[in-house]
């Protein structure tokens, strides 16, 4: 439960807002705290989108530099600092995918530089259990809900593009995405 414990501790300390305020004030140690809390997740997301470890590491750096520059604009009403950092990294990673061009995308589709999971000396048994629990719940989601979510979040498709690709109505795409995220959010809450 280590990652969730960190989130609980952050909440107990007044949430993410004080940390982001320190970063906005130029405190690099606060940025380091945020980095320690979110870097692995951010890297995992970037690798999932880019399928290139080297590019993903650059995206992680860019995401935290962006957080450094724009911490003053963080709005806690919209979500946690982790959600905020992930959204920055996702956006940067998708920008890179889009700028690669069609040929590279075709290579991507074939699984370019498929990321091998790194050795995990710092991942505790509890963290691994957390991930396995979330994975089990994710695989328990109906395939069409999971598919919509992954196409939007990892592939960067809009609801219209998803509807075209999957041959479903726009309203169905909305509903599937909402239901999938509701279930996953409940899962996160139940783990806290």
């Amino acid at each position: 439960m280590l990652p969730l414990l960190l989130a609980v501790l952050a909440r107990a300390a007044g949430g993410d807002e004080p940390l982001l305020r320190k970063i906005a004030g130029g405190d690099a140690r606060a940025l380091r705290v945020l980095y320690d809390r979110c870097a692995s997740l951010t890297l995992a997301l970037a690798v999932r989108i880019l399928r290139s470890r080297a590019e993903a590491e650059e995206v992680v750096q860019e995401a935290f530099l962006e957080a450094w520059r724009s911490a003053g604009r963080y709005d806690p009403r919209r979500g946690t600092a982790i959600s905020w950092i992930l959204s920055i990294a996702r956006s940067r990673a998708l920008d890179r995918v889009r700028s690669r061009g069609a040929a590279a995308r075709a290579i991507d589709a074939l699984g370019r530089e498929e990321p091998a999971p790194m050795p995990m000396p710092v991942e505790s048994a509890e963290a691994r259990q957390d991930r396995n629990r979330i994975r089990a719940s994710l695989s328990a989601l109906p395939a069409d809900q999971r598919n919509v979510l992954e196409l939007a979040y990892f592939e960067g498709l809009t609801q219209t593009e998803i509807a075209e690709r999957t041959g479903t109505a726009l309203g169905t795409v909305k509903t599937r995405c909402r239901l999938a995220l509701q279930k996953l959010a409940q899962l996160m809450e139940s783990g806290r």
């Binding site: 996702r90 991930r131 196409l151 939007a152 979040y153 509701q182």
Partner: protein
């Protein structure tokens, strides 16, 4: 967009599944003053996405990633923190001095306490001034990094006109009308100022402000955005008497020229 419509779209908004137009409409809605469950829906969707990412294979973020971030931040952050710590210590020390005199009593207690308070005020004012100065530097460094991070950034390397060894660069983001002059070793000259000029075609050089390096030779100065509304052909730097040229044109030699590429 109503709150009900936003809540319907909130999951796709959080997951990045909206078109540009839909996203702008959603963002405009979030800027409205009152809401019925919009932010709660957004937080819920964010929690779901966090769970999705937590399901991915764990990857260890190697130390080199953080070192890269630190390198790109430069020294700005740690310096700012150091100044804050100094300010706290100075104020604390002044408080201890005041407390000592308060407790020790004596004929001159009030007088000495007043002097200590004045010293504390002076130290505090000095710290605040230093802090503000460093904050200004940090802001300038962030602005320069933002330009460097822009896809439309161009770097102009100034050519010294008569063997000056210093190197000066201009970081420009012309579509955004942003520019900074950067140098790591431009020596301050007693009684003189460097002045920046914007050159367009055959028109007379347009004054663009004084450049005042720090004693260390470091210089990071913004360029007035209004001077970049029409992209210049070149930038130039002259050495002028203190306060800059009084004639509106370079009164002394141009010592650096940098051609601005518009490609």
């Amino acid at each position: 967009m109503t709150c009900a419509e936003f809540r319907e779209l909130s999951a796709l908004y959080a997951a990045g599944g909206l078109s540009d137009r839909e996203r702008q409409e959603a963002e405009a809605h979030l800027r409205e003053p009152s809401h019925e469950g919009c932010f709660e829906a957004l937080r819920e969707a964010g929690g779901g996405l966090e769970a999705l990412v937590r399901s991915l294979p764990h990857l260890r973020a190697e130390d080199r990633i953080w070192r890269g971030i630190e390198a790109r931040l430069g020294g700005q952050s740690t310096r700012l923190v150091r100044f804050r710590e100094r300010a706290v210590w100075l104020v604390a020390a002044a408080a201890v001095v005041l407390l000592f005199f308060e407790l020790s009593g004596g004929r001159h207690r009030a007088q000495v306490a007043a002097q200590a308070a004045a010293a504390a005020d002076g130290a505090r004012a000095q710290c605040l001034a230093e802090l503000n100065s460093v904050r200004g530097e940090a802001d300038a460094q962030r602005a320069a990094l933002a330009i460097l991070g822009s896809q439309s950034a161009t770097i102009v390397v100034f050519a010294p006109q008569w063997g000056a060894p210093e190197t000066i660069k201009a970081l420009l983001d012309l579509p955004q009308r942003k520019g900074m002059i950067l140098s790591a070793g431009l020596p301050a000259r007693a009684g003189k100022d460097y002045e920046l000029w914007v050159i367009r075609g055959q028109a007379p050089p347009q004054p663009a402000g004084l450049l005042r390096p720090q004693p260390s030779g470091a210089l990071l100065a913004p360029i007035d955005p209004s001077l970049l509304a029409i992209p210049p052909d070149a930038l130039a730097i002259s050495i002028e008497a203190q306060g800059g040229s009084t004639t509106g044109k370079p009164s002394a030699d141009i010592i650096f020229i940098g051609n601005v590429s518009k490609s």
